[in-house]
């Protein structure tokens, strides 16, 4: 049982989904409520990782963060080592790759909020921030939680991107999905099965906890 890989994956997924929580909410809010005509451009860019094969995405991340790119060189100069093949590199790549999984459920939830409620709040004197925090956000909590869970699960299941950008370094970038792949490649089927089963149970437990804490059932209750 690869405890090191498991702990690494849990840390990665938790960090990535937390970062995405703080990115997705403002981004989704802007995408849904902005009256600019070019929001569709941003939507397309945000959804790009959904249609790009993980290896293509990983390849471009490698190019963008490696020493041959200005961004990569800047990072190297600042921290003393490249972004790729580090835990931080994985976090950056995963944040971009799981972005649509965090933004889309949140945006969908925001879009479903009755606009008259927002207007009423405005009329009663609440600022836009207060309206957002006290009216829109509580009503879209399901979507926010869904975004959190999806980005967590997606990061745990990532393989192609991690393989390209990570370099399979034990304790640093060997996530659980890479560890299982490694075991299979080395014909260590027992270790592979143990790790895979544990991962399945762990992921299921996380989902059970999160969905069990939902306030409302999936279908809306009829208005009495």
């Amino acid at each position: 049982m690869d405890w090191q890989a498991l702990w690494l994956t849990a840390r990665l997924a938790a960090l990535v989904s937390t970062i995405l929580l703080f990115i997705s909410i403002p981004l989704a809010h802007w995408m849904v409520f902005s009256r600019r005509r070019w929001t569709f451009l941003v939507e397309s860019v945000v959804s790009l990782p959904l249609v790009l094969p993980p290896t293509v995405f990983g390849f471009y991340m490698l190019m963008a963060t490696g020493n041959r790119s200005p961004a990569g060189r800047l990072w190297s100069a600042w921290t003393g080592h490249p972004l790729a093949f580090t835990f931080e590199g994985l976090v950056v790549a995963s944040v971009f790759y799981s972005l649509p999984f965090a933004v889309q459920p949140v945006a969908a939830a925001f879009a479903q909020v009755d606009p008259t409620l927002r207007e009423a709040s405005s009329i009663l004197g609440a600022s836009r921030l207060r309206t957002f925090l006290r009216v829109v956000l509580p009503l879209s909590l399901e979507g926010v939680i869904a975004g959190l869970v999806l980005s967590f699960a997606h990061t745990v299941g990532e393989f192609g991107v991690v393989l390209m950008v990570g370099g399979n370094l034990p304790g640093v970038t060997r996530t659980i999905s890479i560890a299982v792949y490694d075991h299979v490649q080395a014909l260590q089927y027992r270790e592979a099965t143990t790790t895979a089963l544990f991962m399945l149970v762990f992921a299921f437990a996380v989902l059970l906890i999160v969905y069990g804490l939902r306030r409302r059932p999936l279908a809306a209750a009829p208005i009495a």
Binding site: Q4, W7, L8, A10, R11, A14, L15, S17, T18, L62, G66, N67, R68, S76, H81, P82, A84, F85, F87, G167, N168, L169, P170, G171, V172, D182, V184, Q185, A186, L187, I209, L213, R215
Partner: protein
């Protein structure tokens, strides 16, 4: 009831948000760490050599296996390896020319051998060599991807040499590395595979199948080369490791796993 759940949600959220701050690995103070990038054919032979080195030098060595081409690409992109053990001499040479490896440390320490391997329950008559693959009952033959795996290139060369490449081309399936190629055959998905002698002499494959050596004259030399990566922070230890690879106990071990070991004077 609802507020209790809310508090629980908030507590969970805080816990999850704080989790990343906890450290991932325990840093053993004082022990030196070496990271080795090794070609897949060394998978069976390297662990014992590494253990010997760790014991005698009080250092920790971690090994990342992969196909030589993949490791080559990673090192070019700044992967933090100290030593590169490739299944050919071209990749290390290219790295040295491009400034990613220390040319002075480049050395060929052994030669690998190509074999044809099939599971014990296979009907294949390995004594016939590569010709046995033309049998209609053989549906898939696995080899490592010749684009970036030296053993794959050797396999294609051997097939061409035996005038069998065109006939068998439809049956060829490629593994991303030697290890994956072995796994394709071992799992029963491919009927036979062109693997390295070192892998088939390993415990798993030895017990599960049999092999036939491909005549060494039918494919180019599979030179096993070692080189120290320029960006390494443990250059002295890295050089030490390569030196250890060429000493008595390692040589014996390499020979036992089918490598033809070269005397240190050979370059």
């Amino acid at each position: 009831m609802i507020s209790q759940r809310r508090r629980l949600c908030k507590a969970l959220a805080v816990l999850i948000a704080l989790a990343p701050l906890l450290p991932t690995r325990v840093v053993t103070q004082g022990s030196r760490r070496l990271v080795v990038a090794a070609a897949s054919d060394l998978q069976t032979v390297l662990p014992e050599i590494v253990r010997g080195f760790e014991r005698s030098r009080a250092a920790t060595v971690t090994v990342s296996y992969g196909s030589s081409g993949t490791l080559f690409a990673q090192i070019q992109n700044g992967a933090p390896f100290d030593v590169f053990l490739s299944a050919d001499v071209d990749y290390p040479r290219q790295l040295a020319t491009a400034g990613f490896a220390d040319a002075a440390t480049l050395q060929v320490y052994a030669k690998g051998h190509l074999v044809l391997w099939a599971r014990r329950d296979s009907h294949l008559d390995l004594g016939r060599g590569l010709v046995a693959l033309t049998d209609a009952r053989v549906r898939f033959v696995a080899l490592a991807n010749p684009k970036y795996a030296p053993y794959g290139r050797a396999a294609v060369a051997a097939l061409r040499n035996a005038q069998l490449y065109d006939t068998l081309e439809k049956k060829l399936v490629m593994g991303e590395s030697l290890a994956q190629t072995a796994q394709l055959v071992e799992s029963g998905n491919a009927d036979a595979g062109l693997l390295s002698l070192s892998l088939v002499l390993g415990p798993t494959l030895k017990a599960e199948g049999s092999y036939a050596e491909i005549p060494a004259t039918s494919y180019p030399d599979i030179d096993q080369a070692a080189v120290v990566v320029k960006a390494s922070r443990e250059a002295a230890l890295a050089r030490d490791f390569i030196a250890y690879l060429r000493q008595g106990p390692s040589v014996e071990h390499l020979t036992r796993f089918g490598f033809t070991v070269l005397r240190p004077s050979a370059r």
